[in-house]
């Protein structure tokens, strides 16, 4: 795999190592706040664990997977070595150092601020610096992808950018701009307080800035999974991508609509006007468009394969799909979870329905169904698919791989569906313990017990994944064929000009950001009375 084999392996290795540890923390949290465990003597330990789990799973793990996969896509699709390999390694080490720094501070109890920071709560400055290092490292990746695409364009003037690379760079731009919100929050709101230069925080402004990142970060996590739908599945099942143009459109629509919608997380916040919330609601609804385009295109690509394999009937062709293929299985599971999660998302993005589930366990259930459910199962598929090319070894038993995916899917459903129900019962999220003995709350108890069981299956599946990869290293080396992504059904040499570049979409992204975030940020900055004294974690500075 050109000059990035070790680089990609390092990214995946660190990502999944951290993932495995954070997975254990997640299950521990679920156990200690379930009726199966007495109340924690020190709830601070719970919040410490939540902070570590969220920081690793939200910032470190998906970022490294996206970075590693992005480098692989660059060299495979552009057919050339990565330009800036040394810089890429520096970026990797920035992420590693940032992670270790943040993890040590959180573990020592100096930054139990949860991964969404919650100003005016302020933790130790080194935690935020660690998180910022992770983001800056990923920005280097954004720049490197741009540079590599530009170098290719220079040598291939007027040629169509390969679809996979186009989607990859769109995802990187999405992240590059999305991360600006949290970096602004850290640099101008939190760090001055954490470092002792200021003693007050504008909690409202900080929340608005965080919402800039908070929702679109999910689409950044989602992009590698979407790339895998479009460019791994069709090839893996012996089909072709139904439409390359439709795929490009889906990714640029994410670029435009993913970001200026984050205030739907602040529907209950008083410092944002109702008109602004309305605008964010409208554009949140627009995200369904690229999602539905994707489901259509991928289902059509799968149908092509099924019909070639003798599938018949309106829906009968589904039976003819190669279900023994782990990629097929993974995508199907991912779609089911995306379907449930998306339906829940419609409830969250609607002002009136959101008010019934706002800040309840429903929300935690929802994003666990989307991210660790629909998205992470595709991360597994990506790594399985790339593994022979990366490690030079074939995977052992495919039955074991299928078992791992099944366990993840079943575990995730048992984990998250009762979690949603707990939220509908009104259980607030981010509670270290809960009084299940109160008669009115006793009916909630089974939901958390069920989630503990689902979480256990998920942990087994996660470690099975690590085992499958590590055990393959004991097998003899193979020389795998050159890695390739799917081809389109009609591989046209040209695409609409707008879909071969990013100018229009980036301009729309910036404009929508200005329209949807400009006024609230300007307004909150202007009002001097919105700052409140910081509350330091641990009571001291």
């Amino acid at each position: 795999m050109y000059n990035v084999r070790r680089l990609v392996l390092a990214h995946f290795g660190f990502a999944f190592g951290a993932f495995a540890l954070a997975l254990l923390l997640g299950e521990w949290q679920m156990i200690v706040r379930s009726p199966l465990h007495g109340w924690l003597d020190n709830p601070e330990h719970y919040y410490r664990s939540v902070t570590a789990h969220g920081t690793v799973m939200g910032y470190v793990f998906p970022t490294l997977v996206a970075m590693g996969f992005g480098y692989a896509i660059s060299v495979v699709t552009l057919n050339r070595n990565l330009v800036g390999l040394r810089t890429a390694w520096i970026a990797f080490w920035m992420v590693v150092v940032g992670t270790v720094l943040a993890a040590v501070i959180v573990a020592s109890g100096h930054a139990s601020v949860l991964y969404s920071f919650y100003p005016p709560l302020v933790g130790n400055a080194l935690y935020y610096i660690g998180v910022a290092l992770i983001v800056v490292g990923s920005w280097v990746w954004v720049a490197l992808l741009t540079i590599n695409l530009a170098a290719w364009r220079k040598d291939n003037p007027g040629k169509k950018v390969p679809f996979t690379m186009y989607a990859n760079v769109a995802g990187s731009y999405l992240w590059g701009w999305t991360a600006v919100g949290v970096v602004l929050e850290i640099l101008f709101q939190i760090l001055p307080v954490a470092l002792g230069f200021k003693t007050t925080v504008d909690a409202g402004l900080a929340r608005v800035l965080f919402s800039w990142t908070l929702h679109a970060i999910v689409y950044f996590w989602l992009i590698p999974a979407y790339i895998a739908y479009y460019t791994i599945l069709p090839r893996a099942i012996g089909s072709r991508l139904y439409s390359d143009t439709m795929g490009r459109l889906a990714f640029v629509l994410f670029l435009v609509f993913a970001m200026p919608i984050g205030i739907h997380h602040l529907y209950d916040d008083p410092m944002v006007g109702s008109g602004i919330k309305m605008m964010h609601g409208v554009f949140t609804a627009m995200v369904t468009v690229p999602t539905l385009l994707t489901i259509f295109t991928i289902a059509a690509s799968a149908e092509l394969a099924a019909r070639q394999r003798g599938g018949r009937g309106l829906l009968g062709w589904v039976k003819a799909l190669p279900w023994e293929n782990p990629v097929m299985l993974g995508v199907a599971f991912s779609f089911v979870m995306l379907g449930f999660g998306g339906a829940g998302g419609l409830i969250n993005m609607t002002y009136q329905t959101d008010s019934t589930i706002h800040n309840t366990q429903w929300i935690t259930g929802h994003f666990h169904l989307i991210f660790p459910g629909a998205i992470v199962i595709m991360y597994f598929v990506i790594v399985y698919d790339l593994w022979p090319a990366l490690a030079g070894r074939a995977l052992g038993s495919l039955a074991l791989v299928r078992t791992q995916l099944w366990l993840w899917f079943v575990g995730m459903m048992i984990l998250t569906i009762p979690w949603h129900i707990a939220g509908l019962y009104g259980m607030p999220r981010r509670m270290a313990y809960y009084d299940y003995t109160a008669p009115a709350l006793a009916p909630d108890a089974w939901t958390v017990d069920a989630s503990v069981l689902g979480g256990a299956l998920v942990v087994i599946s996660g470690f099975l994944f690590v085992y499958i990869l590590l055990s393959s290293l004991r097998r003899e080396r193979i020389a795998p064929p050159a890695y390739r992504f799917s081809e389109a059904l009609h591989e046209s040499p040209v695409v609409p000009r707008a879909l071969n570049g990013f100018a229009v979409w980036l301009a729309l992204m910036f404009t929508l950001t200005l329209v949807n975030y400009g006024f609230p940020i300007w307004e909150l900055r202007k009002i001097p009375t919105t700052s409140v004294p910081a509350v330091y974690v641990g009571g001291g500075q």
Binding site: M286, P496, E523
Partner: protein, 251 residues
């Protein structure tokens, strides 16, 4: 190929912005705030803070303390401050003990947070907290005196060899979530410590019980935002006794 795609995309997004904008900033505000005129409705949809005075004067809340607690309220103690404070504190020894450890069921002050002592002295002086002896004692203290006395007591070592015995009672460890009682330890140490919350370990049982009971009955009311009154009011007499006994080491 169709090179108008970019133009159409821009037009479509602009159209969406307009439709969303008209609904969010014109139509809905007119419906929701129809009685306040268009401009007020529009400002409200934008999130511009409104003056609430139009709805009538707000009742003035009863102030529980005029001390505003921040991390910067007290500067770090200098040795000279501690020295002055030690001289001033000679008059306190009768009740609070020569080393800040009381033998008279008055609170121990040795190693107490300076900001805690300073706030109580200010409240005694202003009358926000009342006590037959302390109100008189504080009357003659200047602000500097109070800061120095606070610095002096904060500099003394906490009772040596004091150990909390037995397991913490439920109310200290967990509070009572169903009654909205936070664990004592989440402000007073062990789990976390918040600014201006006193260090309770080793305080006399009678004193702790008396103060919790006084908070519960609103007889003492110098806690900012009624934090302690809200908690003590919901505690049972048994819980008050258990917490007092635990912190006094008599559990």
């Amino acid at each position: 190929m169709n090179d108008n795609l970019g133009k159409w995309a821009v037009l479509a997004v602009v159209a969406m912005m307009l439709v969303g904008g008209v609904i969010g900033f014109v139509w809905l505000p007119r419906v929701v705030y129809s009685d306040q005129g268009f401009f007020a409705a529009w400002c409200s949809a934008l999130g511009v803070p409104r003056s609430w005075a139009a709805f009538g004067a707000r009742p003035v809340a009863k102030i529980s303390s005029d001390v505003v607690i921040t991390h910067e309220l007290l500067e770090p103690a200098r040795p000279a401050d501690v020295g002055h404070g030690a001289t001033l504190a000679l008059r306190c020894t009768m009740c609070h003990g020569p080393t800040g450890i009381s033998y008279a069921n008055s609170p121990n002050l040795a190693g107490q947070y300076a900001v805690v002592i300073y706030k109580q002295l200010r409240d005694y002086k202003s009358g926000m907290r009342a006590n037959a002896i302390m109100s008189e004692m504080a009357r003659s203290l200047s602000d500097t005196d109070m800061r120095e006395v606070a610095d002096y007591y904060a500099s003394l070592p906490r009772p040596a060899g004091f150990q909390l015995t037995g397991a913490a009672p439920a109310v200290v460890k967990w509070g009572a979530p169903m009654r909205n009682i936070a664990p004592c330890g989440s402000c007073h140490g062990d789990i976390d410590h918040t600014l201006a919350s006193p260090w309770l370990k080793g305080e006399p049982r009678a004193y702790l019980r008396a103060e919790l009971t006084a908070f519960a009955s609103d007889q003492r009311h110098n806690d900012i935002n009624a934090q302690m009154r809200a908690i003590a009011d919901r505690m049972t007499p048994e819980e008050i006794d258990q917490a007092a006994a635990y912190y006094a080491g008599e559990h």
